[in-house]
């Protein structure tokens, strides 16, 4: 079952990647990256179990952390970007 889960995760990752490639809006991409990130967290956990070394789950934790922080960072970028675009459009 674990292996089936890993395959399912890979499939989901492919789908999320397709969404990230297609866009069309910035937010779609961010969403896709976010989904991709959480799936990576799961995939890493699953890989740990498949390879029989569950003690490496720390890495999944780091992924979750990094994923969250980078999504927040991206959104912050967007606020700046949006602000400057708004300014740019007005003059």
């Amino acid at each position: 079952m674990i292996i089936a889960t890993a395959v399912a995760l890979l499939v989901v990752m492919v789908m999320a990647l397709v969404r990230a490639l297609l866009g069309p809006t910035i937010h779609d991409r961010i969403l896709a990256v976010n989904v991709f990130g959480t799936k990576t967290v799961l995939l890493i956990s699953v890989i740990c179990f498949i390879s029989g070394r569950p003690e490496f789950i720390d890495i999944a934790l780091v992924y979750a952390l990094i994923n969250f922080v980078s999504i927040i960072g991206v959104l912050k970028y967007f606020e700046y970007q949006g602000a400057s675009a708004g300014e740019g459009a007005s003059d």
Binding site: S51, G52, R53, E55, F56
Partner: protein, 117 residues
């Protein structure tokens, strides 16, 4: 396993070529840096593939495993990743300064503006 063997290295080669292409052909400086990153990461993938031993576990000794992957490439790549991020940070800082003083991050603009004065 043979298919996988060739596949691994060939994909690495294709990745390297993609990265290198970006660095040479793209005029946008940020894109160049992304290309450098792709290029470097593909080299990391190459090293890690070299270190792989079939059936080998991560090189952290434990009772659960007897065969381990080769730890040396991992060490080298840890160092190389750090070097990579250091280069990226410096390059991006340069890009910001270039943008400030040239008003553009496109290679063509910079070259024309340099030749004007």
């Amino acid at each position: 396993m043979l298919l996988s063997a060739l596949y691994n290295y060939w994909v690495v080669v294709l990745l390297m070529m993609t990265g290198l292409y970006m660095v040479i052909a793209q005029g946008n400086l940020i894109k160049k840096i992304i290309g450098l990153n792709v290029f470097q990461t593909s080299v990391f993938i190459f090293y890690i593939s070299v270190g792989k031993v079939t059936g080998g576990s991560a090189p952290i000794l434990s009772q659960l495993a007897t065969v381990y992957s080769n730890p040396l490439p991992h060490v080298l790549i840890l160092t190389a990743i750090v070097v990579g991020i250091a280069t990226t940070a410096l390059a991006l800082a340069l890009v910001l300064r270039i943008r400030q003083s040239y008003g553009s991050v496109e290679e063509q603009d910079i070259l024309t503006r340099d030749s004007q004065c």
